[in-house]
C-alpha cells in the first residue's frame, strides 16, 4: 500500500503568543510538528505495519518546515517531501488542498492520504475534506479507529468520533482520512529513526514540479487581534444562614443577567 501523510509545522503549543501590528508573534519559541499530525503519522505507520507498504510524509512551507518532516521520519516514515514555492506566500486551506491533491497525484498510486484533524495554528480543520473533494475521493474525517481495511478489495470501514458517539462508515479506496485523538497515542521518534532523519536528504518540489499554477487563496487574514482581557472581580457573599446567602447570590445573578 502507498500511504501519504500530511504534516504541518506550527508554533509549539507551549509558546507564548502575542499580537503586534495585527500579526502573531511567538518569539523564539521553536516550531514543532502539529500535534494532531502526530496522530496521523501514527495511523499511517500502523496501517503500513499491518498491511505492508510505505509512508511518505509531505508538508508545504519553507526550509524550516523540514523539521516537521524530520520528526515524521524519526517516527518511522520511509520518506519525506517538502513542497516549497515562493508563489505560495499566504495560502489558505483551499490553496493548500489544491497543492496537496497535486502532490498525491505526483506520488502516483497513493491508496491512503492521511491528515491530522486540524492544525493548532489556523484551526480550520477543513484541509482534509477539501483535498478529498479535489481528488474526488471519499473523505473519512475524524477517524477514531479503523475497523477493517482490505487493500485487495479496496474497501475500508472506519469509526468516526462524533459528538453523539461513534459512527461506522464504509468507504472505498483510495480515500482521504483525518485522524482524531482517539486513534491512540503517537509513538516517540526512535533513536534509529532519529539517525535516519538527521541524515535524510529531503527533496523539494516546486509548483512547477507538481504541474500546477499557484492556486488562488480565497481567504486572507488581514489582521489578527488578541481577545480582550477579561475583567474579573471577586466578591464574598456573607450572611447568617445558607438560605440567606443563596438568596443574595440568586438576586445578584439575576441582577447581572446571568440567570
Amino acid at each position: 500500500m502507498k500511504i501519504a501523510v500530511f504534516v504541518k509545522q506550527v508554533p509549539d503549543s507551549a509558546a507564548k503568543m502575542t499580537v503586534a501590528d495585527g500579526k502573531p508573534n511567538w518569539g523564539d519559541a521553536p516550531l514543532v510538528i502539529n500535534p494532531w499530525d502526530e496522530y496521523a503519522v501514527e495511523a499511517a505507520l500502523q496501517l503500513a505495519e499491518k498491511h505492508g507498504g510505505e509512508v511518505t510524509a509531505v508538508t508545504v512551507g519553507g526550509e524550516g518546515a523540514k523539521e516537521a518532516l524530520k520528526h515524521a521520519l524519526a517516527m518511522g516514515c520511509s520518506q519525506a517531501v517538502l513542497i516549497s514555492d515562493p508563489a505560495l506566500s499566504a495560502p489558505d486551506s483551499s490553496a493548500i488542498a489544491h497543492v496537496l491533491a497535486a502532490a498525491v497525484k505526483k506520488l502516483d498510486g497513493v491508496d491512503l492520504a492521511i491528515f491530522g484533524k486540524q492544525a493548532i495554528d489556523s484551526d480550520t480543520g477543513i484541509t482534509a475534506a477539501m483535498t478529498a473533494r479535489i481528488l474526488g475521493w471519499p473523505a473519512l474525517t475524524l477517524v477514531a479507529a479503523i475497523q477493517q481495511l482490505d487493500p485487495a478489495a479496496k474497501t475500508v470501514r472506519v469509526e468516526r468520533g462524533i459528538e453523539e458517539g461513534r459512527q461506522i462508515v464504509d468507504g472505498k479506496l483510495p480515500a482521504v482520512f483525518s485522524i482524531a485523538k482517539d486513534f491512540g497515542e503517537p509513538r516517540y521518534p526512535s533513536f534509529m529513526g532519529i539517525r535516519k532523519a538527521s541524515k535524510a536528504e529531503i527533496p523539494i518540489w516546486a509548483l512547477a514540479d507538481l504541474g500546477i499554477a499557484a492556486p488562488q487563496s480565497k481567504v486572507s487574514w488581514p489582521e489578527i487581534s488578541a481577545p480582550p482581557q477579561r475583567e474579573v472581580s471577586n466578591e464574598m457573599i456573607t450572611g447568617g444562614s445558607a438560605d440567606e446567602i443563596a438568596a443574595k447570590l440568586a438576586d445578584k445573578l439575576i441582577a447581572e443577567g446571568v440567570l
Partner: protein, 402 residues
C-alpha cells in the same frame, strides 16, 4: 570551536523529554512517596533504546555518541534523579566498562543483552566499611582452578535488586605490597548461588529508585567472568568512575535546570506586596545564580563528553564537572525552596524532592572532598593520569552505527 548541538542531538533530547513529560513526571511524586521504583521505568527505558544509547549498534546499542549520553542524563534528571541513576550504573559504570575493557566474548555475552535492555546492570565497589578508601575493601575473590570464589558485601548499590549483572571489584591478592594492586574486577550474574541482593529503605532522597546491597557467600564464577587482568581492578574501577561521574555531572545539570524552571514559574505566579515575586531583587539574585551554575555545569559536562568522543583522557575534566554540578545542584535546589517559601517546604511542589535527590550525588562517585583533592593534585603536579592498557574508545560514527 562549535557550541552548537547537532540536529541528531536535539532530536534525542526532545525524544527523551517527551518521554519523561508524558510518562514520568505525572506519576513520579507518588513513587517517591511510596519509596519504590515504578515498575515500568526500566522496561520502558529498555524499549525506547535509552539503555543502549551510546553503545555501538554491533553490540546491541543505538550507536549514538558520548555527548548524547550526557544530554539523555540531563533530560532524565530534570524529571527525577532516579532515572539518571539508571544511566549512571547500567551504562556509565558497567556497560561502558565492558566496551572499554571487555574481551569480544564478554562483549557478546554481557554487553549485547545490556545494550538491548534485555539485562540490567549495576556496579559494586563500595562496601559497608569502605567508601572513599577503595583499597580498604574486604571482599575477596579466590582463584580455584578455572573458577573464582567470591565472598563479601557491597553496599549502596543502585539497582542491586533489579540488575541481572553486577561489575564487582574484589580483593584477589591480600599480600600485594600496594593494596590497590591486589584488586580485580569481575562480572557477576546476580542469580548465581550464594549471591543475594536487597534494597535499602529510609533514604533521604532518590526514593523512587532502587538502592541496595549485594552479599556474596562462596559464589563460584568462571575465570571468563574476570574483567581485565588480575590486579587491574582498581584501574578499571577508576575508569568506570570517569564514565559514571560524567552521567552524574550531566544529571546534576538537569537538576539545576529543574530548580531554575520551577523557580521562574513560581516567581511569575506568586504575588507578594501586590506584585509577582520575580520583581524583587533578592529573588532575581537567586534566579541569576541558578542560570550561572546551569550554564557553567552544562559547558563542563559537554566538554567532558566532547573529550570522550575524541578519545582523550578526561579524568580531570569529568571530576571537575561532577564536583561543580553536584554542589551547584544542591545549592540550586535549596534556593528553589527558598523562592517557593513555605510551599517549597511541602511536597505539594517538586523542589523539596530536588533537594533531597541532589544530596546523594555530592557523596557518591567521589565525594566533593575527593574531587577537591583531585583538582588540587592536578594543579599542584602531585597527580597525573598514567595511560591505561585499554582506553575508552573514541566515538567513530562509522564503526558505531554498523
Amino acid at each position: 570551536m562549535d557550541f552548537q548541538l547537532s540536529e541528531e542531538h536535539r532530536m534525542v533530547q526532545n525524544m527523551v523529554r517527551e518521554f519523561t513529560q508524558k510518562e514520568v513526571i505525572p506519576v513520579i511524586k507518588e513513587w517517591d512517596r511510596k519509596q519504590e521504583m515504578a515498575p515500568f521505568i526500566l522496561p520502558r527505558m529498555a524499549e525506547l533504546g535509552i539503555l543502549g544509547i551510546n553503545i555501538p549498534v554491533r553490540y546491541g546499542g543505538q550507536g549514538f555518541d558520548y555527548i548524547s549520553l550526557g544530554l539523555v542524563s540531563e533530560e532524565l534528571e530534570v524529571a527525577d534523579t532516579t532515572l539518571r541513576v539508571v544511566m549512571s550504573v547500567h551504562m556509565g559504570l558497567n556497560s561502558m566498562a565492558l566496551l572499554q575493557w571487555g574481551t569480544e566474548e564478554q562483549k557478546q555475552k554481557f554487553l549485547v543483552p545490556q545494550a538491548k535492555g534485555e539485562k540490567y546492570a549495576c556496579f559494586g565497589l563500595t562496601e559497608p566499611g569502605a567508601g572513599s578508601d577503595v583499597a580498604g575493601m574486604k571482599g575477596t575473590a579466590k582463584r580455584m582452578g578455572d573458577e573464582y570464589v567470591l565472598n563479601g558485601e557491597k553496599m549502596w548499590i543502585s539497582l542491586a535488586s533489579k540488575a541481572h549483572h553486577a561489575l564487582v571489584v574484589m580483593r584477589t591478592n591480600p599480600d600485594a605490597a600496594d593494596p590497590h594492586e591486589g584488586l580485580t574486577a569481575f562480572i557477576l550474574e546476580l542469580d548465581r548461588k550464594g549471591a543475594k541482593t536487597g534494597d535499602i529503605h529510609g533514604k533521604m532522597g532518590v526514593r523512587a529508585g532502587s538502592t541496595g546491597w549485594i552479599s556474596m557467600q562462596d559464589v563460584h564464577i568462571p575465570v571468563e567472568n574476570r574483567l581485565g587482568e588480575e590486579g587491574e581492578g582498581f584501574k578499571i574501577a577508576m575508569s568506570c568512575l570517569d564514565n559514571g561521574r560524567y552521567t552524574v555531572a550531566a544529571g546534576a545539570t538537569g537538576l539545576i535546570r529543574a530548580s531554575l524552571e520551577a523557580s521562574i514559574k513560581y516567581s511569575h505566579d506568586r504575588k507578594a506586596f501586590s506584585r509577582e515575586i520575580g520583581q524583587f531583587q533578592l529573588i532575581q539574585q537567586k534566579i541569576a545564580y541558578m542560570v550561572q551554575s546551569y550554564e557553567a555545569a552544562r559547558l563542563l559536562y559537554l566538554r567532558a563528553g566532547w573529550m570522550k568522543n575524541q578519545g582523550v583522557r578526561n579524568t580531570r575534566e569529568t571530576s571537575l564537572a561532577k564536583w561543580f554540578a553536584t554542589d551547584a545542584s544542591f545549592e540550586a535546589a535549596s534556593e528553589a525552596i527558598q523562592v517557593h517559601g513555605a510551599y517549597g517546604y511541602s511536597d505539594e511542589y517538586d523542589v523539596e524532592r530536588y533537594l533531597r535527590n541532589s544530596k546523594g550525588a555530592v557523596i557518591y562517585e567521589g565525594t566533593s572532598e575527593i574531587h577537591q583533592l583531585m583538582q588540587a593534585g592536578y594543579a599542584l603536579g602531585y597527580r597525573e593520569d598514567a595511560k591505561l592498557r585499554c582506553e575508552l574508545p573514541a566515538y567513530d560514527a562509522e564503526y558505531w552505527q554498523k
